[in-house]
């Protein structure tokens, strides 16, 4: 009898859920635990890891140079998120109010540019805004400016890259939450004499808030860890947390410090997800 249960239940569940579980434990759980462990070690003279408990790396984070970068990254991620939400919401609203077939085509139209390599799209902004690029040429020929402006390698151009790369991740969750909004509620509100604005702030906005919060998470967290945008458009002059982490594991070789910065990102991520799960289910986050 016992053998029968094994063959009927244990064996198939092991065969099916086993590989994915094993993969997750080996390549997600273990590396995550190990990086937390490394963050509490210290750096040797030759860039090696000295396996002795220390809070050195976390103290270094509070050091003004690193702390400034952390604050700058958080600020940039925050501005990116706010702008993506503000720009994306009306856009998502417009698409969600279209008939279903039109809406799905419009969504498709958002996705197509994103099948172009993201670095090449970033590079395009560089080509457009470089010293002898089309934008400067246009401004020069129309007489707006006398000498070419230097857009490249500035925080502003990095922000353009961040927003254009992140916008779809803000639009999609908001689109699906607006689209799910029942029409009858809005009609009831209008019938009861509420103005368009009142209906929006009292019904539409609160009911689509989970979508907005999904967007916040899907834009804020990746923006915080990104280094490709700053590498391509910042030319090494603009540094975010992602660049610092990458450098610690590359040229600078300070693993514990890089690990501590990674732990910081994990903690911020965990905190945001915790807040999110207070009022919505994580399965509904529309990550896809």
């Amino acid at each position: 009898m016992q053998k029968n249960t094994f063959k009927r239940k244990t064996l198939p569940s092991l065969a099916m859920a086993g590989p994915v579980s094993l993969w997750m434990i080996l390549f997600v759980t273990l590396p995550m635990l190990y990086i937390i462990y490394i963050s509490f070690m210290s750096r040797g003279v030759f860039g090696d890891v000295v396996y002795k408990f220390s809070l050195e790396s976390y103290e270094t984070l509070l050091d003004s140079t690193y702390f400034k970068v952390i604050l700058k990254s958080i600020k940039a991620a925050f501005v990116t998120t706010v702008l993506c939400i503000l720009i994306g919401y009306p856009f998502a609203y417009y698409i969600a109010k279209k008939p279903k077939e039109v809406a799905s085509k419009l969504i498709m139209l958002i996705m197509i540019p994103f099948w172009t390599n993201s670095l090449m799209r970033l590079n395009s902004w560089l080509l457009l805004f470089q010293t002898s690029g089309p934008v400067n040429n246009f401004l020069l020929s129309t007489g707006f400016i006398d000498t070419p402006m230097s857009f490249v390698y500035t925080d502003g151009l990095v922000m353009v890259g961040m927003i254009t790369n992140m916008l779809p991740f803000a639009v999609l969750p908001m689109y699906s939450s607006i689209e799910k909004l029942s029409r009858s509620l809005l009609e009831a509100s209008a019938d009861l004499g509420a103005s368009g604005r009142t209906t929006f702030f009292n019904i539409t906005l609160p009911l689509t808030f989970p979508g907005i919060f999904s967007s916040i998470i899907l834009v804020f967290i990746p923006s915080l860890g990104i280094y490709t945008v700053t590498d391509m458009l910042g030319g090494g002059k603009v540094l975010y947390i992602g660049n610092i982490i990458k450098n610690q594991f590359g040229s600078i070789r300070n693993w514990p410090l890089g690990a501590a910065l990674s732990v910081l990102l994990i903690v911020i991520t965990g905190l945001l997800i915790y807040i999110y799960t207070r009022f919505a289910k994580i399965e509904d986050m529309e990550v896809l």
Binding site: M24, F27, P90, I95, I112, W115, T116, R121, G258, A259
Partner: protein, 275 residues
Amino acid sequence: MSISRKQKGKRRQELLGTIYSVAIYTILYIPVFVMMMFSFNNQRYNYYWNGFTTQWYAKLFNNSAVIGSLWYSVVIAVLATVISVTIGTIGALGLKKYEFRGKKFINNMLYIPIIVPEIVMAVALLIIFIKIGLSLGMGTILIGHCTFCIPYAVVTIKGRISGDGYSLEEASMDLGANRIKTFLNVTLPSIMPGVMSAAFLSFTLSIDDVVMSNMLAGAKNSTLPVLILSMNKTGVTPDVNALTTIMILFIVIAMILNNFIRNALKKRAKMEENI
């Protein structure tokens, strides 16, 4: 009177919405068109527009570094897709169907690679690989890509498994089919749309990936995105623009064909249903 005014207001709102959306679409498409335009630029580096040429398309096939890195990317993407979709499909079914200790833990683990910034996952894997003495190269990039593709595959496919209590599978087994036959003939066809979108997603995530590939690559070969990133100090050369232009056209045509075939199949299924 008031109704017509209301209608007028609505029409104006609609017009504003259209203008706004066209503006957003323009901003999203500008980088793509600029990228395409500069693939025809008659200059070794894209510093300014220097006249029209198609030479980069011809020269592309002589530039072994660019084509080599493209093949490297494609091989990794295909392998990552096959591994992730296989593990993801049976994993999604297993996680949906069976209850076991630690299932909630695995479900939570699946969200980590999706949500935590990729650089964190990449360096975490890097130090583990170095610790156990795995040499960096295609194998490590592949593990990295699968680590974020598998969760996406599981989530996508899980969403497609109907919650009807496996009556079809039970019927199939009652009729004498074994587990594997049932899986191939009953379960798999019912979740096929999910499997296909998981495959598409895995492939695009893998082929476009920079962060994992950059961290986990050895000194020898690099994927196309890593090559582009390394070019950025001197400027990306127009032949890469040409290659990317070909790739985007290829994807768009594939999508249109896919849509076309899907519609045709739907029509045929409907006709068969009517008969």
